[in-house]
């Protein structure tokens, strides 16, 4: 498959591993250990799936960050979604990733077992179509995700508005990326470089990380999700650290443009505006969320049904916060 197989070539991986080891050798003598955070959950998945941890030198430590949209969604959101799905005539749609996440007392999967109409869709536009097909029901879409996904949700809301679909709304818990990366800079963990997310960056562009680099002097490399991309991205970070540089570099230039996807951002910010947001196990981070603007208030399920997420009380045994901050 074009643009996939080329980035999974084992022979090249072997050579890149050698180059990475050579660059890591420049970190000093005795070599200091550097901590690189892959912010995005898809990078974490790819690193495990392709055994990347076995290929990097001992002096390069990879830690996971707060970039899995489901993991960072507080339990109070799940409780609100469950409250809404229990309403008479409600259909709840989601991407399938929220369905097993436990709320305080139940999960969407449990609720489905009890006969609630909870559907998994591929595209948010499918939920708009389902709303049209079920005019007597209220279709509530669970909007969870970062800048990659939020323009799609905004497009679905604009489509519903254009086509006069009155029974479609979104329970939004969208979040943005660079802000938590800044918040982590004053945390307990010393991070030496960021492996920046691939497709969030497709939307926000290289320029999305400039403030982070200037303010905290931390190397940032936008990296694709294929194994060779990740090996290249890690090597570029180690090189920057060895050189004493801190810049935004773009390994994934075949997809990510310096300015990002301007049109997607216009659609996103037509419907949404920045807001403060609570991250599971981390707490409130200023300007790190996206809320539906007043203008599109009737598509906001929280406003329409008068619900608000209760203050989240995470289970005391929950380690999400430590994991999301790279401490475990």
């Amino acid at each position: 498959m074009k643009y996939i197989n080329e980035f999974r070539d084992q022979r090249i991986a072997k050579k890149l591993t050698g180059r990475l080891a050579a660059e890591a050798g420049r970190l000093g003598s005795p070599a200091r250990t550097v901590t690189l955070m892959e912010v995005c959950g898809t990078h974490t998945m790819s690193i495990y799936r392709h055994g990347i941890k076995a290929l990097v030198p001992d002096t390069v430590r990879l830690v996971s960050g707060p970039g899995c949209p489901v993991c960072v969604t507080p339990v109070g959101y799940v409780d609100t979604a469950i409250e809404l799905c229990r309403m008479e005539g409600a259909i709840t749609a989601n991407f399938g990733d929220m369905i097993r996440v436990p709320g305080t007392k139940s999960s969407l999967l449990n609720e489905r077992g009890r006969g609630r109409d909870i559907r998994v869709v591929y595209s948010p536009l499918d939920a708009v179509t389902m709303a049209k097909e079920n005019p007597k029901s209220q279709m509530i879409f669970l909007g969870v995700g970062f800048e990659t996904t939020t323009p799609l949700i905004a497009s679905a809301i604009l489509t519903a508005a254009r086509e006069g679909v009155e029974n479609f709304s979104v329970l939004a818990a969208h979040k943005v990326m660079p802000e938590p990366m800044e918040a982590l800079m004053s945390g307990e963990l010393k991070i030496d470089g960021y492996i920046c997310p691939a497709h969030v960056s497709a939307i926000i562009g290289e320029k999305g990380y400039i403030r982070l680099v200037e303010k905290y002097h931390i190397p940032c490399v936008i990296t694709g999700f294929e194994p060779l991309d990740i090996l290249r991205g890690i090597t570029m970070l180690v090189t920057q650290i060895a050189d004493g540089r801190a810049q935004v570099e773009n390994e994934y230039c075949r997809v990510v443009k310096p300015e990002g996807n301007v049109k997607a951002r216009e659609i996103l910010y037509e419907v949404f505006e920045k807001s403060d947001a609570v991250w599971r196990g981390v707490g409130l981070i200023k300007d790190s969320g996206l809320a539906i603007r007043e203008k599109y208030g009737k598509y906001d399920a929280a406003r329409r049904f008068g619900v608000s997420a209760p203050e989240s009380k995470e289970n005391p045994a929950c380690l999400c916060g430590e994991i999301l901050k790279g401490l475990k």
Partner: protein
């Protein structure tokens, strides 16, 4: 999850496009992009094309990676 798949546009329709990978075809919205044409490769995320693949940049990256295959660098000691 922000997973997206590189797919080739085989048809541009009134509502979006039809894109293909490994013989599988799928409709996708092109609301987020300008000027999508048949033959373009796009990244598809949850039914939307979120960005086009720049073929020159992709070829340059692949060329740089293949170049090190012919280089003298020897990675055997790390295995």
């Amino acid at each position: 999850m922000c997973v997206a798949v590189p797919m080739k546009v085989v048809e541009v329709t009134e509502f979006g496009c039809v894109a293909e990978i490994g013989g599988m075809r799928k409709e996708a919205s092109i609301m987020l992009l300008n000027d999508v044409r048949v033959g373009d490769y796009v990244m598809i995320h949850a039914g939307f094309a979120i960005e086009k693949i720049n073929p020159e940049a992709a070829e340059e990256t692949i060329r740089l990676m293949r170049e090190i295959l012919d280089s003298e660098e020897n990675a055997d000691e790390v295995y």
